[in-house]
Structure formats: C-alpha cells, structure tokens
C-alpha cells in the first residue's frame, strides 16, 4: 500500500499551508455557519474515543464539498492539523474533479481516493479494498453510500451502492458513524450550499451486522446504513416543521 503511505506523508506535510485558508474561506468567505458547533465536535470526540475498532463515516450527499464541510464541522482546523488522522480519507466521484490538474492536486491534498461511479469493476474494487485497508489500520474514512449527489434532494435508498456494505463486511468490528448534513436553505442537490447558509449535522453511530453471505451480506449491510440515514432525514424534517 505504497500509494497511501506516500499520499499520507505529502498531505500531512502540506496541510498547515492550505487547511487554515480553506477553513477560513468556508467561514468568512462563503459565510457558512455550523449549528451547535461545539456540541457537535464534543459528540464526535466522544464517539471516536469510545470506538476501539475501525470507524467508517457515511453521509448523505447533496453538494460537491460535503466531505470537506463535514470534516470542517467535526474538528477545528487546529485539531485537524495537529491530529491529521482525524481528517478522514474520502472517496469523491472522479468525474466531478477531473476538469483540471489543479482539481487533481486539491483532491490529492484533501486525502481523496477518487472513485468512478459505474466505472470498471476492477477499479471500483481496488478503491473499496484500499478504504477497507485504511480502516483496518484504524484510519478514518468517509464514504457516500448513495454513490453520488442525490438528484431528488432526499436520501435515495434505491440508489445506494453496495460497495459500502463490502467495506463494512470486510473489516471486522467496523462501526459506522452515519452523518446527516443539510443546510437550512438547501432544498435540493447542487454544487455548493447557498452563501451564508447554516449547516446542520446529526450523528448516529451504528454497528451493522448480517448473518448472510457474499453479495447478500454486502447488500444487507449497505441497507442498514442507508436506512439509518433515511431515519435521520425523517427526524430532520420532522424537527423543521
């Protein structure tokens, strides 16, 4: 796993240069605000400290920068720099960031392992194995079970990829931190949250289990995760009414 080792070393070295700028832009440029920020970060710290084994972060997906918003919300820039392992590896859709070499560099620095939805199975399998390997080393990884941004603006269980189930099924005692993220002004999917939006995050830690085998097991595990995200979404909208 030389790829991971090299990328990890490079991003650790360069994080102090770009991370404060990126976090500063989100807060003061885009004027995003995270509701109940301190409580959220305390809850994340508590979950991490209580989790002895691997922890996979799974979130709904509405904008291009969801993964960075989540990591920015869960840890302060200072804590991310001093505890770079808490900045999770994430798996963005390759086509979203294939536009320029600059995008390629930025995704590399943000601990991304790009994946091509609907791409060659060998490539997809390779990414899933890499994420499973990182989790087995107790590193954090973030994945979007739906595979891409939800076109309906709601969690779409029918589009949930089974890859997340493969990962969870291949890593013993893997827990899943389900994250529901949505901006107050976010009615549907898009590239970015609206300028000045208030972001709300809800966390729920589960440990999916299945007695099934093979593909059925992976599907069962993936379904448990998306079911949790659907439940969190229901609670979110119930709370807004």
């Amino acid at each position: 796993m030389g790829l991971h080792t090299v990328q990890r070393a490079v991003v650790t070295l360069l994080a102090p240069l770009w991370l404060p700028l990126a976090a500063g832009y989100l807060r003061f440029g885009a004027r995003y605000r995270v509701a109940d920020l301190q409580e959220l970060r305390c809850e994340f710290d508590r979950i991490r400290s209580e989790t002895r084994g691997p922890l996979l972060l799974c979130s709904n997906h509405l904008t291009l920068i969801d993964s960075f918003l989540i990591l920015w919300a869960l840890r302060s820039p200072w804590k991310l720099i001093t505890d770079w392992d808490s900045f999770a590896w994430n798996t963005p859709e390759r086509t979203n960031f294939a536009g320029s070499p600059l995008h390629g560099v930025l995704t590399y620095l943000a601990k991304c392992i790009p994946i091509t939805r609907g791409g060659r199975r060998e490539d997809t399998g390779s990414v899933l194995k890499r994420v499973a390997y990182l989790l087995s080393r107790r590193e954090l990884a973030l994945i979007f079970p739906e595979g891409g941004r939800s076109r309906s603006g709601r969690v779409e269980p029918e589009n949930a990829a089974w890859g997340v189930g493969r990962i969870v099924g291949s890593v013993p005692n893997c827990r899943v931190l389900c994250i529901y993220l949505r901006g107050d002004a976010q009615e549907t999917w898009g590239n970015f949250p609206e300028h000045g939006d208030t972001l709300r995050l809800k966390l729920a830690c589960i440990e999916p289990k299945s007695d099934l085998r093979g593909a059925r097991r992976s599907r069962d595990l993936a379904r448990q995760i998306t079911a949790q995200l659907v439940q969190m979404e229901t609670e979110y909208f119930d709370g807004r009414q």
């Binding site: 595979g147 949930a160 093979g214």
Partner: protein, 81 residues
C-alpha cells in the same frame, strides 16, 4: 451446461435492469453491462444475487470485480457450475 445456454439465461436475468433496449436486442459476449446495457451500478448487486439464485452458485464480492461484460458474467458462471 453449454455456454450458449448460460448466455441466454444471463441475458434474461439482465433484461429487467437494462435501460438500453437496443443494446439488449443485439447483446453479445462483448456487451458492457454498465456502459452498453445501462444497468445502474447500484443495482449490480441485485443482478449478482439473481445469478446466484438462477444458477444455484455462490459468487464472492471479489469475483464481481472481474465482471464488466456479459461475457465476463457468462465465463464466471460457467467456471462455478
């Protein structure tokens, strides 16, 4: 079981998930399941489970990584029969 019989049953299984009916009509061993037939990649798991049930075989997750075309699926199934 003959390869042609397996191919016929594989195509029958793929039919409900294939969005490109034209490609389905001219399906061959080289036909890509995702790119040509336009099967939703998220539903590939259902296709694999249908293969398992129909042919009474067990397909490991890793085996699926080598399946890109209809021919790949046929060859995998034949190897497991």
């Amino acid at each position: 079981m003959e390869q042609s019989e397996v191919l016929e049953r594989v195509v029958k299984i793929l039919t409900p998930w294939a969005k490109n009916e034209a490609a389905l009509a001219s399906v061959a061993m080289e036909t890509s399941i995702l790119d040509d037939l336009k099967v939703n990649s998220a539903r590939l798991v259902d296709v694999v489970i249908a293969f398992e049930d129909d042919f009474d075989i067990e397909i490991a997750d890793e085996d699926v990584d080598s399946v890109n075309t209809v021919g790949d699926a046929v060859n995998l199934i034949v190897a497991k029969l």
